[in-house]
Symmetry: C2
Subunit: 125 residues, 2 copies
Amino acid sequence: MKRRVTKQRELIIKVLENNRTHPTADWIYEKVKKEIPDISKGTVYRNLQVLLEDGVITELNLDGILARYEEKQKTHYHFKCEKCGRVIDLDEPVLQGINERVAKKTGFKVSGHQAEFHGLCKNCQ
Amino acid sequence: MKRRVTKQRELIIKVLENNRTHPTADWIYEKVKKEIPDISKGTVYRNLQVLLEDGVITELNLDGILARYEEKQKTHYHFKCEKCGRVIDLDEPVLQGINERVAKKTGFKVSGHQAEFHGLCKNCQ
DNA sequence: TTAGGTGCAAAACCTTTGCCATCCC
DNA sequence: GGGATGGCAAAGGTTTTGCACCTAA
């Protein structure tokens, strides 16, 4: 499927580029709405889907209810505060060679991994 | 809140005890229904909530849509097949000391972590 | 007896989809 | 022009909840 450049899609990307908060689809919708007031939620979801397919963004599911999104970047881990719900990027070095180790042990084809820590952030202790 | 022993709750626990498939709430409901035909989905969800609170089971969110549950056990990692969707336990040794390292570096109170690998399982390659 | 639990059904939510108009290339 | 995209609203699917009736302790 050949992609086109639309202002809606561009704005969604821009919102995610300038953002470290791992927003939900709804948050993105509200943000984008300020600039394109009659954008629809369906468009946001459809574009997030497209951007996921194209590998531009990553979907996080730490939540159980809402998906969260972030701009694609090198692998890193997340910390989710159990009290305030914030999701924070960690700069803990990514484990080297662990994908290969799992692949060797299991016979699976391992394309990656993700990890989330949980507990209380500084503000919530 | 004082908990009571009900056949519904006991059966849900039993289903999760004899199960390595990380079932969804709906799967649990269908299973339990065979023994208690007029159990309601609300009861299943309410009990899963209670069991989560009590730390009897763990909720996994690898999916984006459905939550999955498993009996609580010592920390271990999961592998999710991107094709068939199965979630498989790994026996990769859990990383020691990594919670403490993150805690020290960030100042957060870290109570645990989880990790999921993804790729293709043996059957799907 | 009585607070916690259950069934049922409706409500609440998040996400996807169909349809048709619109816009990009 | 033609296919990709967007807006709108309805549909879909999962989870939560209100309420009246049970039941374990």
